[in-house]
């Protein structure tokens, strides 16, 4: 047991710190600090900055052009990036499609798609959920009918995050109605510029547009866009869920959010003292810091076990639950910290080019919206209820 960084790890941490200090555009970190909405251009710019430094896909295996970063290195990058107010990368190509292609894609698919993910040619989005499916993903209905050298795809996907920016979508589609619902599912790559693909925005409860419905009407998809074997798509999707453990806990994000909250709590006054000194507030904050301190170690333990080749267990689900609940509790305490100024909301103020006078303290406007928006985190990516099902199934075998 050793909680200290090795000299190598310290050096790596310093390298990453220097990178963010010197290479992260202030225009981006300012937006992150002010919790403004990232434009497509912002996200592409950050993508380029990371790629030029070779950090964009550093977590990929060396044989696919990555640096094969281990769990500790990824944790350091996550924490330093958040501390530097770096934006989040768009995960769909880099962290979700790529591992599937590496594990199950053909050589041709790997050679074609992976470089385009890195150089930004392709912006991927995910086509898993359907209006009827929800947590019961295997019940998906979107069909892909084999007709000669292509599939004809019909149906609808939903909750497609940033689909409005994407030019490609990887979908789970039904290629067979035989056997168990899981058995008739295939993993298909679809060019969103194909005729018959339509993207419709979904506005979230706090008024933002980040997810979409994607409709498919007689969309022709070449058979070479099938990943792996037909009707094996479910296995590939599951592989992703259990193997993509890193970052699920959101440690770096949580740490940065707590710093922001502390800043607010020092600025707000309650009973003539800084809110930070109010015993009830301080107690809530301290409990969160205690849980986070433990979760960071839980996260590292699980990551290292994964690196050491431990079989995927229920731990990933534990991280998903704890990580989302913890960050939601930070969002909750943050909106409390604002007092009455949590209520006013000027949505336009979150977009580029707004320069009106803020209502209340400059940090106030986005925080209530943030709290409501992040209720999604315990719902998507396998709701926390599904995660509890997974844990108990694995532990009890019932």
């Amino acid at each position: 047991m050793d909680l200290n960084y090795t000299p190598e790890e310290q050096a790596f941490q310093q390298e990453i710190r220097t990178f963010f200090e010197t290479k992260l555009p202030k225009s981006l970190s300012d937006k992150v600090k002010q919790k403004k909405r990232m434009s497509k251009g912002d996200m592409e710019q950050y993508h380029t900055v990371l790629n030029e430094a070779g950090y964009l896909n550093a977590h990929w295996p060396v044989e696919f052009g990555g640096k094969g970063w281990n769990a500790i290195q990824r944790d350091i990058f996550d924490v330093e990036g958040n501390a530097a107010a770096a934006p989040r990368t768009v995960p769909f190509g880099l962290n979700m499609l790529a591992p599937v292609l590496m594990a199950f894609g053909s050589k041709e698919q790997q050679d074609h798609y992976l470089p385009r993910i890195v150089d930004g040619t392709d912006w991927w989005c995910q086509g898993y959920s359907e209006p009827g499916s929800g947590s019961d993903l295997a019940s998906l209905k979107m069909t892909a009918e084999r007709q000669g050298d292509h599939y004809v795809v019909n149906g609808q996907k939903t909750w497609t995050t940033l689909g409005q920016h994407a030019n490609w979508i990887f979908c789970l589609v039904r290629t067979s109605k035989e056997g168990k619902p899981q058995e008739g599912i295939s993993f298909l790559l679809i060019d969103m510029n194909s005729p018959g693909v339509e993207v419709r925005p979904i506005i979230l409860l706090e008024g933002t547009h980040e997810v979409n419905e994607v409709w498919f009407t007689d969309v022709k998809v070449p058979v070479e866009n099938l990943v792996g074997e037909e009707n094996k798509g479910w296995t590939y999707a599951k592989y992703l869920l259990v193997h993509e453990r890193s970052g699920i806990a959101g440690v770096g994000d949580a740490m940065a959010s707590i710093d922001h909250l502390k800043h607010i709590a020092r600025d707000q006054t309650q009973n003539g003292k800084p809110l930070a000194e109010d015993p009830y507030f301080a107690a809530r904050l301290s409990e969160i810091e205690i849980d986070l301190s433990a979760m960071r170690t839980t996260n590292m333990r699980i990551m290292q076990a994964a690196t050491d080749g431990a079989p995927p267990g229920p731990e990933v689900s534990m991280l998903k639950i704890k990580g989302t609940v913890l960050r939601q509790s930070i969002n909750d305490l943050t909106r409390r910290a604002l007092g009455p100024y949590a209520m006013p909301f000027v949505s336009e103020a979150l977009d580029d080019g707004w320069n009106g006078e803020p209502v209340g303290p400059d940090y106030a406007n986005p925080m209530a919206a943030d709290y409501f928006n992040h209720r999604k985190t315990s719902i998507y990516g396998g709701s926390n209820e599904i995660q509890r099902n997974i844990i108990s199934k694995m532990m009890m075998g019932l």
């Binding site: 409860l205 409390r336 949590a342 209520m343 209502v359 209720r375 209820e385």
Partner: protein, 372 residues
């Protein structure tokens, strides 16, 4: 002891309930909220005609209610519809006038719906401290000159008149030395910046620059008691509103659990959700009871204890119920189109009106230690 409403009060509740059910679907609510003034003047007028405003005030000022239970039953129904018309601002400003005495004509106009008022009391640094007033009032001639800033004034951008708190004496958080003035919204030196709120209502930031005020409400320096009187009624009202919103949230979740199918069965079949529903329903009944207690003690010496108990419970359990309603629905509850998210937003934001869960827990602690 008796836990049944009087016939007239039950009629008031039924009437308000029917109005909301039949004429205030969520689409209408969004339409009203999207207006420049943040509500519908026509709807406000017809609600006034129904007597819904008068029900908030005692007979001696031309109303026909004004008791805690009148406020409670009406706002519970308003909460079921997420009604955006300016009932809260009217209740609070009107309660100041009714308690202070006089201003008969203005109250009459207000009850008739012809005039709207807002209580401009909170300030940028006051948070939940009801005695925090930095705005100054300097005597000049037979009037006063007001200077200062008012913050998050409910319906402050649409009211015809403002009731402004300002200090003629004392330190910035003293309870004595606070005066209330009636100021026309269009008076010179009154700069009003309105904004929407995350839950679809309107507030305003108001700057007062050398505003001449001639109408003092109540005694000079004695305004804080009037403010507390208004805030007590406002607190009861928003908690009743929260209960209404909680009822709808729970009912919608129940319906969803019965109809939404996953893995081939209605998700209401899943025991984990059933048990969480059971707890939510128990909490709802607890809130209802705390509301009854607070309404019954609104004009008693135990007012503050019961109001703080209620507000703490609404903050604590309300948040839990709102978050559970979203979680059990899943993704659909995250969308603007589906109503439950809007109810959740209102329930949560009510925690930010007149003191949140912790503020009122602390007040209970202090009251207990004074008693001990």
């Amino acid at each position: 002891m008796d836990f049944n409403h009087t016939e007239t009060r039950q009629m008031l509740a039924d009437m308000a309930g029917r109005f909301v059910r039949e004429q205030y679907p969520i689409e209408t609510r969004h339409k009203h909220a999207a207006n420049d003034e943040g509500y519908s003047a026509d709807t406000w007028a017809s609600m006034a005609e129904l007597g819904l405003i008068g029900a908030l005030f005692p007979e001696d000022v031309g109303g026909f209610g004004g008791e805690g239970y009148d406020i409670a039953v009406l706002f519970e129904e308003l909460g079921r519809g997420l009604v955006v018309e300016p009932f809260l601002a009217t209740l609070m400003a009107g309660s100041v006038l009714a308690e202070a005495g006089g201003h008969g004509d203005l109250i009459e106009e207000m009850i008739g719906g012809a005039t709207t008022l807002a209580l401009a009391h909170g300030e940028p640094a006051s948070r939940y401290n009801t005695a925090h007033v930095e705005t100054t009032a300097e005597k000049s001639g037979d009037g006063y000159v007001l200077n200062g800033n008012k913050a998050v004034v409910i319906s402050g951008d649409t009211a015809n008149h403002l009731i402004v708190s300002a200090r003629t004496a004392g330190e910035k958080t003293d309870t004595s030395g606070i005066c209330l003035f009636l100021v026309p919204a269009d008076a010179e030196g009154v700069h009003i910046r309105g904004n929407g709120t995350i839950d679809g209502y309107r507030t305003a930031e108001i700057a007062l620059k050398d505003v001449t005020a001639t109408t003092l409400i109540g005694e000079e320096g004695q305004g804080h008691a009037l403010v507390e009187h208004a805030i007590a009624r406002g607190t009861l009202a928003v908690c009743a509103e929260a209960l209404g919103a909680i009822e709808v949230s729970i009912d919608m979740t129940l319906d969803y659990l019965k109809t939404r199918k996953q893995f081939g069965v209605p998700i209401g079949k899943f025991q984990a959700l059933q048990h969480r529903m059971a707890d939510m329903m128990t909490e709802r009944e607890q809130i209802r009871s705390a509301l009854i207690n607070a309404a019954g003690h609104l004009d008693s010496s135990e007012r503050d204890w019961h109001l703080s108990a209620l507000k703490n419970l609404v903050g604590r359990s309300g948040r839990h119920i709102a978050e559970e309603a979203i979680q059990m629905h899943g993704g659909i509850a995250m969308t603007w189109e589906y109503a439950v998210g809007h109810y959740a937003k209102r329930i949560i934001m009510i925690d930010h009106l007149f003191g949140d869960e912790d503020y009122h827990l602390d007040r209970i602690v202090r009251l207990g230690q004074q008693a001990a």
